[in-house]
């Protein structure tokens, strides 16, 4: 049992972070605005969780300007994808 729990990723323990990764897994990149809408969270809340995922290098950020307005896009990194898959497998094993 303990061994299975070890495979659960601390970075995904939070619902919002799990949600962010879920969206990034199936999209090349997602805008901040879309994430906010999708997960129904506040700007500050979302930003802090994005920061946390960025810190462990699970997501990458690209900033560009669209019509002179800043547009921030997020995408999952390879290590983020791997970690997420491992986390899901751990949950599935736990439920077996």
């Amino acid at each position: 049992m303990k061994h299975i729990l070890d495979n659960l990723d601390k970075a995904f323990e939070n619902r919002v972070r799990l949600g962010i990764m879920s969206a990034l897994m199936v999209n090349d990149s997602v805008e901040f605005k879309s994430l906010k809408h999708l997960l129904k969270v506040t700007d500050g809340n979302l930003a802090s969780h994005l920061k946390a995922l960025e810190k462990v290098n699970y997501i990458a950020v690209t900033k560009e300007f669209l019509d002179r307005k800043p547009n921030t896009k997020y995408s999952a990194t390879d290590s983020g994808r791997k970690a997420f898959k491992k986390h899901i497998e751990a949950i599935e094993n736990l439920l077996k």
């Binding site: 949600g19 879920s22 969206a23 879309s34 809408h37 999708l38 899901i88 736990l94 439920l95």
Partner: protein
């Protein structure tokens, strides 16, 4: 344990909502179907006047009729698309979802590629005088467009697309019944699927 089951459910839900266009309204299918049937009726009146009503018939296409037909086709298309957009807007408003986002764009682009190809192919064939093949071809290309776009929206669209393709191929064989098959594909199938989707997704 409960919490993990909930987590998996939410992950699936978010993956779906973030990658697929789900605000499709069943009513837009119904309205497109009804519009198609009305359009087909007018087309029928134009093409098959003064002929016996049983069996195989020849389409009568004078230049004057052709202009009428193209007019009917364009009007039908505009009303069908317009009502589709209207009902879908209602759904996304109700779900509090943005209508014009990356999912919508992705869906429309993938729908448009086979659709525009088919439309152009039909216009070219029409200009060369191949009238009979048009109705079956529109069904085939529309079906291909739906299959292509189904990855980005509700999964039922895929089987609707495959049905349209089969119907189009049958119509290509029985070319004299083109308008009939066209009415089934664009009219009845749309209405049937629309009602089914409405019941399944928005009870």
């Amino acid at each position: 344990m409960e919490q993990y089951i909930e987590d998996l459910k939410e992950i699936k839900d978010i993956m779906n909502r973030s990658s697929r266009f789900i605000s499709l309204s069943g009513w837009s299918g119904v309205s497109a179907g009804v519009t198609a049937l009305v359009g087909a009726y007018f087309a029928y009146q134009t093409v098959y006047t003064n002929q016996n009503y049983l069996g195989y018939r020849q389409a009568q296409l004078s230049p004057e009729n052709l202009v009428w037909l193209i007019g009917i086709a364009i009007t039908t298309l505009i009303i069908a698309i317009g009502s589709g957009v209207f009902f879908t807007t209602q759904v996304s408003k109700k779900n509090n979802q943005p209508l014009w986002d990356s999912q919508t764009k992705r869906l429309l682009i993938n729908l448009s590629i086979p659709l525009i190809t088919g439309g152009m192919a039909c216009l070219i064939l029409l200009s060369k005088g191949f009238v009979g093949i048009i109705a079956p071809l529109t069904l085939v290309f529309y079906g291909l467009a739906l299959v292509n776009a189904s990855k980005y929206t509700l999964q039922e669209i895929r089987s609707l697309g495959i049905t349209e393709i089969i119907l189009g191929l049958i119509a290509m064989h029985f070319i004299g019944f083109g308008l009939l098959f066209w009415s089934i594909g664009f009219g009845l199938l749309h209405i049937g699927y629309g009602i089914f989707m409405q019941i399944k997704y928005r009870p």
